[in-house]
């Protein structure tokens, strides 16, 4: 990768989780965030806060 190349995506972790499957973890995260967004609207926490 060129040193100045823009990094546009979050690379996935290199190793599998051990306590639950990836899909189980992903689903749990989605459920909690969906519940939060339902209460508070959009929460793109890092958006528009770039230096």
């Amino acid at each position: 990768m060129a040193k100045s190349e823009k990094i546009s995506t979050i690379p996935p972790p290199k190793h599998p989780p051990t306590s639950a499957t990836r899909s189980e973890l992903r689903q749990a995260v989605r459920e909690v965030i969906a519940a939060r967004d339902g209460r508070t609207g959009n929460m793109n926490v890092l958006k528009d806060k770039k230096k």
């Binding site: 100045s4 990094i7 979050i10 972790p13 290199k14």
Partner: protein, 210 residues
């Protein structure tokens, strides 16, 4: 799209920090910051194959990471043996050795060296004098700032979120982690490194459009 080996190498960060309970808040903050800045967090904790010799795991990860965060703050004597633990300085030495003797691919390795105070570690590793040591004071938010600022300079990436934004995101992630874990009947205090990196990954993806 699958990353090439050199792309993965450029984005991989070896986190060489204490694993004990007293340090876990700092380790988690560092891991979150690395991933929030869109780098890959790597640790000896990620490989759970007991048949692999630990030092071989370290060699493999160092070989696969251009970047390394090394925390030398854990110098207290072990309660049982009354001796300090030297794993972090050893692994920093391996990283610096790879940079010095590892050939062209490793010459551009970059290390962030952390301690509680900026010049303290010169008292117990005097050969490190001349390296730029950063102090975190035992505070997660200072770890976030130091790691983020180092990633900005070490990678020449200009679009990283600011330290305050990362800290705010991390605070929110920590607040939601118990609820996330409860859905899978997991104990948030007993998550493995791999569980944590996966949870952070999905949380960041769901909270920020890519």
């Amino acid at each position: 799209m699958t990353e090439t080996r050199s792309q993965a190498y450029a984005r991989s960060v070896f986190i060489n920090c204490p694993f004990d309970d007293k340090y876990i808040q700092l380790l988690d903050a560092i891991t979150f910051t690395v991933m929030a800045c869109k780098f890959v967090a790597r640790s000896a904790l990620e490989i759970e194959d007991g048949s692999e010799v630990r030092i071989e795991k370290i060699f493999k990860i160092v070989a696969e990471c251009r970047l390394g965060v090394h925390d030398l703050s854990r110098t207290e004597l072990d309660a049982e043996h009354l001796l300090p633990r030297f794993n972090m300085p050893l692994e920093l030495g391996i990283f610096l050795g790879a940079k010095r003797f590892g050939g062209d691919e490793h010459r551009n390795k970059s290390a962030l060296i952390l301690d509680t105070e900026r010049f303290r570690c010169q008292k117990f590793i005097s050969d490190i004098a001349g390296q730029d040591i950063k102090a975190h004071g035992g505070q997660p938010e200072r770890c976030v700032e130091e790691v983020r600022n180092w990633l900005l300079s070490a990678s020449a990436t200009k679009d990283l979120p600011g330290p305050d934004a990362i800290t705010a995101a991390y605070t929110q992630y920590l607040a939601e982690l118990p609820s996330i874990c409860a859905l899978r009947r997991l104990n948030p205090r007993k998550l493995t490194f791999n569980d944590k990196t996966n949870l952070i990954y999905y949380w960041l993806k769901a909270s920020e459009p890519l």
